[in-house]
Amino acid sequence: MTTEHNTQPVIEAANLDLTFQTNDGPVHALKDVNLTIDKGDFVSFIGPSGCGKTTFLRCIAALETPTGGTLSVNGMTPDEARRKRAYGYVFQAAGLYPWRTIAKNIKLPLEIMGYSKAEQDERVSKVLELVDLAGFGGKFPWQLSGGMQQRASIARALAFDADILLMDEPFGALDEIVRDHLNEQLLHLWDRTNKTIGFVTHSIPEAVYLSTKIVVMSPRPGRITDVIESPLPRERPLDIRDSKEFIEIAHRVRDGLRAGHSYDD
């Protein structure tokens, strides 16, 4: 293994375009998006509603087909990558099946992918541990708080060996204290698993705290206005948010968001 291996691009978008044809005419959801995400990156997408964050993530996941440009995932087309189960996707709503226990919910992808029973059990207990839910496997979703449900849905995305984790505002519906805690856990998890993470958020502190790379986007048409490489170390205690570097990056993100807006007016 060379160090070069570490910087091999996992996701590469070049001149990516996506226009939705709607009844009210075309909606330009993504325009000329260029972005490279390297292995092990933690990339946050931040921007106002409707700037195409979800759409871009869905393109990577092959849930949406771009109308122009090129996009590769692990050197393949997004659809090939999807068939190879290259990523786990965490939606904003936990979306656990109410008729399955937490453990059975996490087994869902494993059943579909044909893992053996023994392997399923082993993986379930491993990821439950990882998201700090050990002992909750036998509970039904309604018996868990919103934060715990979201953790279970992350565990579900981690259960199989995808080295990319795509998360669309996973903590958007949770209160700030729970959110802080989950952010901290997510960083630990990223550190332990060395996954590449694409993370959509509305919150500037969340983006700065988590990311190695922050992608600032703006709407109509959805586009990237700034890409910020974070100088913060991988190891990030919560109080890093009071440091000078942190505040500087947050400033730059805010400026980027503002610039995107004034473009419109």
Binding site: R82, Y89, A93, G95, W99, R100, P109, P141
Partner: protein
């Protein structure tokens, strides 16, 4: 158990109204009988009384109103009379070991129940298969659904005799098969509609999630759509079994049927024995209540075990 009190209240109101209605409904019969027995009633003569409203008859002959509550062949029997008749043709006969006699409502109820269950099974199977076809095929959605709706606008009383005649033409003996078909005809529709709704109930994001796992269509059906539809299925099954019972009884009405609750209702009408009509009606209502309750309990148990009880 919380729903017990409201149900009992409604029942009490119905029985109360029923008792109140017995007076005016039976006043003419009462007065005819009293006149024949030599009592003085106003006005005299059955003919004249036909022209007079029941309220006036009751006002002029208050002494005879009570007679209406104890007639042998009342227009409208009292709940107690119906209850007694029902007991006479069920429990009492069973105690004498004649539960399966042709005069016992247990025998007729059993005949009706069999057809109902056959129709229910057939109708449910058709409904579920139709729903799967509709959900998975746009062509089916556009072609099958309108016909399913049209099928329910045809009055079943018009269709039932045709089905019976047709099946006997085809050499099918007895009433069993045509009755089950009629009953399935009424039963499949609520199941179809409920299952279409249930199979379509998963959110888009749920289907997207399976897409990210590269799940097959069959896996999506078995692991997501089918379990999601279970609450809808049970709700439709409860409607469906009641419809199946109605279908069976309608299938027993056309002349020629001699067994089943429907036949009892018709025979009671032909032989002028209103009590036996009412007893058969009550038996049918009790049977419907039992069937729906059984499904309701099944629903509760299943949903509880699936962790979906509200």
């Amino acid at each position: 158990m919380r729903s017990f009190l409201p149900v009992l209240t409604v029942l009490a109101v119905i029985v109360g109204l029923w008792y109140l209605a017995v007076g005016p409904m039976n006043i003419r019969v009462s007065l005819d009988q009293a006149e024949r027995a030599g009592q003085v009633v106003t006005p005299e003569g059955s003919r004249v009384r036909q022209e007079t409203s029941v309220w006036i008859l009751m006002a002029k002959n208050p002494g005879q109103i009570a007679l209406g509550y104890d007639l042998e062949r009342p227009r409208l029997p009292t709940p107690v009379q119906v209850g007694q008749e029902l007991w006479k043709t069920t429990g009492e006969m069973a105690m004498r070991g004649r539960a399966m006699s042709k005069r016992s409502l247990i025998y007729h109820g059993w005949i009706t129940l069999q057809s109902t269950l056959w129709g229910f099974v057939l109708g449910t199977a058709l409904g579920i298969l139709g729903a799967v076809a509709i959900v998975y095929s746009r062509v089916m959605d556009m072609s099958l659904m309108p016909w399913a709706i049209i099928s329910q606008t045809i009055p079943i009383v018009a269709l039932a005799p045709m089905i019976i005649v047709l099946s006997s033409q085809l050499g099918i003996e007895g009433r069993g098969v045509p009755k089950a078909i009629i009953s399935a005809y009424l039963c499949y529709f609520p199941v179809l509609v409920g299952m279409v709704k249930g199979l379509r109930s998963p959110a888009i994001s749920q289907l997207d999630l399976l897409q990210t796992y590269n799940a097959t269509g069959l896996q999506a059906f078995l692991k997501l759509r089918l379990p999601s539809s279970v609450p809808y299925l049970f709700t439709s099954l409860k409607v469906g079994i009641a419809a199946a019972l109605v279908g069976t009884i309608v299938g027993e009405l056309p002349t020629g049927a001699i067994s089943g609750l429907g036949a009892r209702i018709l025979i009671g009408d032909q032989f002028g024995t209103p009590l036996s009509i009412w007893a058969a009606l009550l038996a049918a209502a009790i049977l419907a209540g039992i069937l729906v309750t059984v499904l309701d309990v099944l629903q509760r148990v299943t949903l509880k075990r699936m962790g979906m009880s509200a």
